[in-house]
């Protein structure tokens, strides 16, 4: 028998961008909610050691870069002086403000917040080891696992303060003279750019033939061009074979395209993240975990254990905050008995480097691999008035369209400053089932970078105002 929604007690384990929205939404739907996380306030990786601190630092980095470019406009500024303690404090203040706000919202919703770590004793019971050392036992009508993910470490890396992961890199202990970035994914490149802007000589090593493997090559090219100038070196198709601590730093041996050895002050390992499914006592439940460590869930994010749901990084790719949030809302509604499902047509991915790279939906390569006949139109930002006023004509906007279906928008990609903000229009277009004409005949404000979306759509119809092919 279905119990009354209002008397359901739900427990959310993990207070990240998956867990806290799930808890908030469940409370808003009238359920009685307990939220458990080991931090004093909700926020998870995203707010404490992920999206938010990295973006705060990137904001500072972008300013430093702009300051160096403004000379071309006839404005000379002296080399920025960096007060690392103040920068760190500012970043901490941003975190404190946002997580404190979430704590307030938790209280306002009358959610019970337990600071501690939860483990399933059996499929119906949780044991919580509270941060003050006491233990609590909880039962529930439904539980949501939102325990997120952890950085992957290199097995052969020495245990040394010179070897950083994304968390310790965000601590900003110092600005090393030289730094090796292991892994050319988005987390590494963002942090690498922060350190490069602050003055480190940054070298990147990546196994794959390109940075940001999986992203549209035409977009990556735009970022790579910039990074080539900012970074000391970019070694592609190269692997780190050994890391050894020496008095001078970490000696690195490379294998592959770039053979050889070199010593760096610090190493930042950013080779990926693994789902954190191992610490919740799943062995005491029927929850199934796949070979990659993700919890297996159905379309409503329900695990093999009917009363247990899983969302966010622990429940599968893409490991992104906004995907976790969407899943959190789906799980809360599913528990409330609503017919919601996980049904996104496009999930935007953004690399917050300078220039930014953002995309959603299908890439050209994916569409071709799926045997789809697609038409791709590009609008180079060199033809955008706004980009020129910003001194940034290196960007590009690309649309992947289905020529057999009214040029329906299948994918959108962009590179350039502000791409992360602009991509929202692309995501909306795909979710709404828009066709190129819808974008072409929507008035976009002038002069803005958003016009590039309109013009890319126009060029699909063969008539872009500012660009001829």
């Amino acid at each position: 028998m279905e119990t009354d929604v209002n008397s359901k007690h739900i427990v959310v384990i993990g207070g990240g961008p998956g867990g806290y929205p799930a808890a908030f939404h469940a409370a808003d739907l009238g359920m009685q909610v307990t939220l458990i996380d080991d931090a004093p306030n909700p926020g998870g990786v995203c707010l404490y050691r992920g999206c938010i601190p990295s973006k705060a630092l990137l904001h500072a980095a972008a300013f430093i870069n702009e300051a160096s470019e403004i000379a071309e406009w006839g404005i000379t500024v002296s080399k920025p002086q960096i007060d690392l303690d103040k920068l760190r404090a500012r970043k901490e203040a941003v975190i404190a403000k946002l997580t404190g706000g979430l704590g307030q919202l938790t209280k306002q919703r009358k959610i019970t917040y337990l600071q501690g770590r939860a483990r399933f004793a059996d499929p119906k019971t949780l044991t919580v080891t509270m941060s003050d050392g006491t233990t609590q036992t909880l039962t529930f009508d439904a539980a949501i696992i939102a325990t997120g993910s952890q950085p992957i470490h290199l097995p052969f890396a020495p245990d040394s303060p010179r070897v950083l992961d994304s968390t310790t890199a965000l601590d900003l202990a110092d600005i090393p003279a030289s730094m090796l970035l292991v892994g050319g994914g988005y987390i590494g490149l963002e942090l690498g750019q922060v350190y490069a802007s602050l003055g480190s000589r940054v070298t990147v090593v990546e196994m794959m033939p390109a940075l940001l493997p999986g992203a549209d090559a035409a977009l990556v090219r735009v970022l790579a061009a910039k990074l080539k100038k900012q970074f000391e070196a970019i070694h592609l198709k190269t692997r780190v074979a050994a890391l050894d601590e020496t008095p001078e730093g970490i000696a690195v041996r490379f294998e592959g395209k770039h053979e050889g050895s070199e010593t760096f002050d610090k190493i930042l390992v950013a080779v990926g993240r693994r789902p954190d499914a191992g610490n919740v006592g799943l062995e005491n439940t029927g929850v199934v975990v796949d070979e990659k460590g993700f919890i297996t869930v159905d379309a409503q994010r329900r695990t093999a254990e009917p009363a247990i749901y899983a969302i966010g990084d622990v429940a599968g790719q893409p490991m992104l905050a906004h995907k976790a949030t969407y899943e959190g809302k789906v799980a809360a509604e599913a528990i409330a008995g609503m017919k919601t499902v996980y049904d996104p047509k496009a999930i935007p991915g953004v690399v917050f480097t300078d220039p930014e790279i953002a995309w959603c939906g299908l890439t050209e390569a994916e569409a071709k691999a799926a045997g789809r006949d697609v038409k791709v139109t590009s609008f180079p930002w060199a033809a955008s008035g706004r980009a020129t006023t910003l001194g940034r004509s290196d960007g590009v906007t690309r649309l992947v369209l289905d020529p057999t279906d009214n040029h329906r928008v299948l994918g959108v990609g962009m590179a350039g400053p502000g791409a992360g903000e602009l991509i929202a229009e692309g995501t909306l277009a795909i979710e709404m089932g828009a066709v190129a004409d819808d974008l072409a005949w929507t008035i976009h404000p002038h002069p803005t970078l958003s016009e590039t979306v309109m013009e890319a759509a126009e060029s699909a119809m063969g008539h872009s105002i500012h660009y001829t092919r």
């Binding site: 290199l154 074979a241 990926g272 996104p344 999930i347 004409d437």
Partner: protein
């Protein structure tokens, strides 16, 4: 060991497929995930992969065959002791992954950090889950419907992919979904009967004069409802006679009791009482089927519908909790409801919530007929005209009053033998009125 390879669940609402190509032959050895067959659903062509490695023993289907979910298509000799089923709750959860990747694989996690640029990749691995209950499924990638429209359609149980969009380039709006839902309700028979569209009518005037009259609402509703039932429900009807000689004696003896109370103790009333008791003993007949969730809904109440013909047409008022009422009470209620129905004063409440219907043609004529089930109920009992008959009892010919009974039931839920047992119990209870008090 030889194992059977059955057509797996391929998606919601896919019950049968057509084999377009068999990709393996007996003696072939296959690896897990290797495509075995190419099949076609009404939506797409799909390759059905092997779930384990093994050697094909025999191929039981060929190109063009129609196959339903669960049907055995191939048999295999399994190599090794590969697990045969998807992980279930009993499976030991995998230990947490090794926190460190193998050195040769540094690139992999890096690339997996990137968001797959579209939803198809993170699609939930629904298929290898033992689903506790049915769960709505995500819509395919390129349906031109906004999230709000998809959500609305899901809520009211409409598959948005079959809705025709009225907007530019086929865009589907909330109104389109509503229109679709309305049309579906108005033409249930068409949807149900596998969408064979009604062919256009001939021009009857070619053969003489005709008159066209608007159908009364009640006629139209009956037409729709009967088509729905006929289209959805595989009917079986069985016939038998009950010897009511004794019961009729009792009926006459106690008729006054009912009259005093304002009712009329008819044979139909007595049969209703027996049926109500039978439904308590045979809950299967007091149920409904939910094909959407593949569940059977057993109702914990017995509400008997009694078909009443009125000038305007057929209505079926309901005697709520008939099992808790005695014959006099039932007779009073039937009389009152029938009167209300004939006066056109019947309320919606009086017509709703039935769990089983009794229909009586006995006052007019006829022996047997094939009553159509009042969907979503699963059975209906038809009463014919009682007649004195020459019956052989204990080797002697005797004159007995016999009542013809026709029971239609939904073969999806009820098998022939269950139907016979149910009708048999009713007949026994009619013939031996005491049985009702003993067992009913």
């Amino acid at each position: 060991m030889s194992t059977e390879f059955k057509l797996p669940e391929l998606g919601e609402n896919i019950e049968t497929i057509q084999v377009t190509r068999v990709l393996v032959s007996p003696g072939d050895s296959v690896v897990a995930d290797q495509p075995l067959l190419e099949v076609e659903t009404d939506k797409a062509t799909i390759e059905v992969p092997a779930d384990n490695a093994g050697t094909v023993d025999s191929v039981l289907v060929s190109d063009g065959d129609e196959v339903s979910v669960g049907q055995v298509m191939l048999t295999f000799t399994d190599s090794a002791a590969a697990p045969t089923a998807a992980p279930t709750a009993e499976t030991e959860p995998e230990p947490a992954p090794d926190p460190v990747p193998p050195t040769s694989d540094i690139r992999h996690p890096t690339s997996s950090l990137l968001p797959p640029p579209s939803s198809p990749s993170p699609a939930p691995p629904t298929s290898d889950l033992r689903l506790p209950t049915s769960s709505p499924s995500p819509t395919p990638y390129n349906v031109p419907a906004a999230p709000s429209v998809r959500r609305f359609a899901r809520e009211i149980g409409i598959d948005v992919t079959v809705v025709t969009g009225s907007g530019p380039n086929g865009r589907i709006s909330i109104d389109d979904v509503k229109t679709h839902a309305k049309q579906r309700n108005e033409a249930p028979a068409l949807v149900a009967a596998g969408s064979i569209a009604t062919p256009p009518l001939p021009d009857f005037e070619k053969w003489g004069a005709v008159e066209r009259k608007k159908m009364a609402v009640i006629r139209r509703k009956t037409a729709e409802h009967m088509s729905l039932s006929w289209g959805q429900v595989p009917h079986v009807t069985i016939f038998d006679k009950a010897d009511i000689t004794e019961l009729d004696v009792l009926r006459k003896r106690y008729a006054d009791h009912a009259v005093e109370a304002g009712g009329k103790l008819t044979m139909a009333v007595m049969v209703c009482k027996v049926v109500a008791a039978a439904l308590k003993r045979f809950p299967q007949f007091n149920a409904s089927i939910d094909m959407g969730t593949r569940e059977i809904i057993y109702k914990q109440y017995v509400n008997l519908g009694v078909a009443v013909s009125t000038e305007r047409g057929l209505v079926v008022p309901v005697i709520h909790n008939a099992d808790q009422k005695n014959m006099v009470a039932i007779s009073v209620e039937i009389s009152a409801l029938a009167q209300k129905a004939r006066d056109g004063k019947i309320q919606l409440d009086d017509l709703e919530g039935g769990t089983f219907t009794v229909t009586n043609l006995g006052r007019i004529c006829g022996t047997y007929f094939t009553p159509i089930i009042n969907y979503p109920e699963v059975a209906i009992l038809g009463i014919g005209r009682a007649q004195p008959e020459a019956i052989v009892r204990d080797g002697q010919i005797e004159m007995r009053t016999m009542l013809p009974l026709s029971l239609s039931f939904d073969h999806r839920l009820i098998d022939g033998s269950d139907g016979a047992r149910f009708l048999g119990w009713i007949i026994d209870a009619i013939q031996e009125p005491l049985l009702l008090s003993l067992q009913g």
